[in-house]
Amino acid sequence: MTLLLEVTNLCTEFNTRAGLVRAVDGVSLRVSRGECLGVVGESGSGKSVTFASVMGLVRSPGRITHGMIFFDGRELRDMSPDEMRATRGRDIAMTMQDALTALNPALTVGEQLSEVLIAHDETLPAGRAARRVAIRDKCVEMLGLVGIPSPQSRLAQYPHEFSGGMRQRIMIAIALACRPKLLIADEPTTALDVTIQAQVLELISDIRARLGMAVVLITHDLGVVAEHCDRVMVMYAGQVVEEGPTEQVITQPRHPYTRGLLASIPRPAMRGQPLTPINGQVPDLVGLPPQCRFQSRCPMARPECLVEVPMFDAGPDRRARCLRLEDMP
């Protein structure tokens, strides 16, 4: 598999009133073509900001301070705003957590879908009438693809006229309209009922297989990752703490935080064992000393953990950010 996205040592900072917050601190990651990467972490762990940085959507007062972002062989950070615009939506697409807020309430679904095509699709015919027909056909096709019944009649409707699951599908249809090479799905199921969660994830997997695109699935749900992702990356307080093939990470976590996460969710494999929450809170990211960020909550923490901890190799294609990597059971 060839490499599609490679991020190296990305740092993104926010200049807030309370002080400088390094929301993304030296994150490196890779996504191959067609691959599905799961990104897990609590809220505030920097997972969303990381990919907002990739998309070039970090807004003031935030900014990328350093790092490299190679996508499909090009450095995204060197692109002009216009080039970046052309890339977004066409090559890299994104869905957001809640379709209710991500879809513009004042515009029809049809308009929100067709505008992506107008912005990016160069295969559209030139004539006005023909163009309009082509756009409409494509919109209908996309809505059909994500499983909206009788799509023609629904193009003129507004987002609030759809159910939650339907809205999520519409958002996905919009993201996929230009057949992107990479889809970043930011918490695609959090806002949904359990039954619909499964359908939506099914849909993403299904389309991914059909279109052969890569997917980054940002979630805080390890169960979702286990089911859908090839590889997983765990983030904590702005840093990647562990990454590797899903199966291995879940069965044999090499970072205490990953272990904690796994222990705090019900899993069929752990049936019968008590759930143990992680004690404490995510540290305030302002003025953080250079030391292991998890140590305040870590059951395995030792005095020597009060130093800056790099990523260690933890087996083939696996890495973890823990000094006590070897002590892990």
């Binding site: 977004r88 066409r90 994104m94 957001m96 879809l103 513009n104 309430p105 992506v116 912005a119």
Partner: protein
């Protein structure tokens, strides 16, 4: 929006309009003095005429009944006779109305076309020099007393620079036949560009004075709501779609940001209507506002009463239209 819902909304207007009429009726009914004497003022009428007027007004009848007589007459635009003018009140008002409407509309347009772009610019260039200027300007705009600002404008442009006329509405435009009563339209209909420019010259200062507070408020509202909207997920999503900046700003952001602007504009129409009285007085504009002010001092109360009712009903209807516009802009709200 279905016809049924629209009808429902129209029916909801009725109690408000009734209440407004009641207050206007009570205003005159409670004015101390004999209503007939008040209506007639300095003019003399015969005893027979006076008796007839008493009968018409139903002064011998109980208050409630008199109110319904008033309502019935008002519904037919019958507000009695303006004895000063020797014509019905409604005729006198109708003569003055086009000038007032023209001035108000131009002021509204001036306010909208300056406030909205400025508000948007200030929002997307937050904290820039322009934003700060706009903020200061809007504060000044709501704090400037219109009557004083108008006088300053006259001193500068009419007296000192002598580039704009001092007072009134007429000029070269007097050559143009009256069709709509709006000089800007009539001059264009007549194909007389020069008269159009002339009419415009007379309009500039009053329209700016009248539109200023509204401009200030709308600019602030547009800026605030634009900032609010720009924080929304759907803007991020629109950016993520790689749409052109213009489309994100004007189609996605502005359409939503305009929703509160429309509501506020409707409310501010009240200050525009009230401001007419001031601005028309300062600029000698021959509209209804000045007529009302003059009539107050002549104690021509029937005319004042009719005009107050007219202004209030107009305001209620404008707000109703704004409500409808609101639903057009905001599909989430159902009538």
């Amino acid at each position: 929006m279905s016809f049924g819902k629209l009808l429902e909304r129209i029916i909801q207007l009725i109690p408000v309009l009734l209440g407004v009429s009641l207050i206007v009726f009570v205003m005159l009914a409670l004015t101390p003095g004999d209503p007939v004497q008040i209506m007639v003022g300095e003019q003399s009428i015969t005893p027979e005429q006076e008796a007839e007027l008493r009968r018409d007004l139903g002064l011998d009848k109980p208050m409630v009944e008199r109110f319904f007589i008033f309502l019935g007459n008002a519904a037919q635009f019958d507000f009695g006779q303006s004895y000063y003018h020797g014509r019905p009140v409604s005729a006198v008002i109708a003569e003055r109305l086009p000038a007032t409407i023209e001035l108000s509309l131009v002021a509204l347009i001036v306010a909208l076309v300056t406030a909205i772009p400025l508000g948007v610019l200030a929002a997307i260039r937050k904290n820039s020099v322009l934003d700060r200027l706009a903020t200061v300007g809007s504060l000044l705009g709501v704090s400037l007393p219109g009557f004083w600002f108008g006088i300053l404008l006259i001193m500068l442009f009419s007296v000192h620079l002598q580039i704009l006329p001092v007072s009134g509405r007429i000029g070269y435009a007097s050559e143009v036949p009256t069709v709509s009563g709006f000089l800007l339209i009539d001059t264009l209909l007549a194909g007389d560009v020069r008269a159009f420019g002339e009419a415009l010259r007379y309009l500039i200062l009053p329209a700016i004075t009248l539109g200023l507070p509204m401009t200030a408020i709308l600019m602030r509202v547009t800026r605030t709501s634009m900032l609010e909207v720009m924080r929304q997920d759907y803007i991020t999503f629109a950016e993520a779609k790689g749409l052109p900046r213009r489309r994100v700003l004007f189609r996605h952001a502005l359409k939503n940001a305009l929703i509160p602007t429309v509501s506020v504009a409707a409310i501010e129409m009240g200050s525009l209507l009230g401001g007419n009285m001031i601005v028309e007085t300062v600029f000698g504009w021959p509209g209804l506002g000045r007529l009302v002010v003059e009539s107050i001092f002549l104690r021509n109360y029937p005319l004042v009463q009719a005009a107050v009712l007219l202004y209030a009903v107009t305001y209620v209807l404008l707000n109703f239209i704004a409500d409808i516009l609101y639903t057009v802009l905001n599909p989430r709200v159902k009538l």
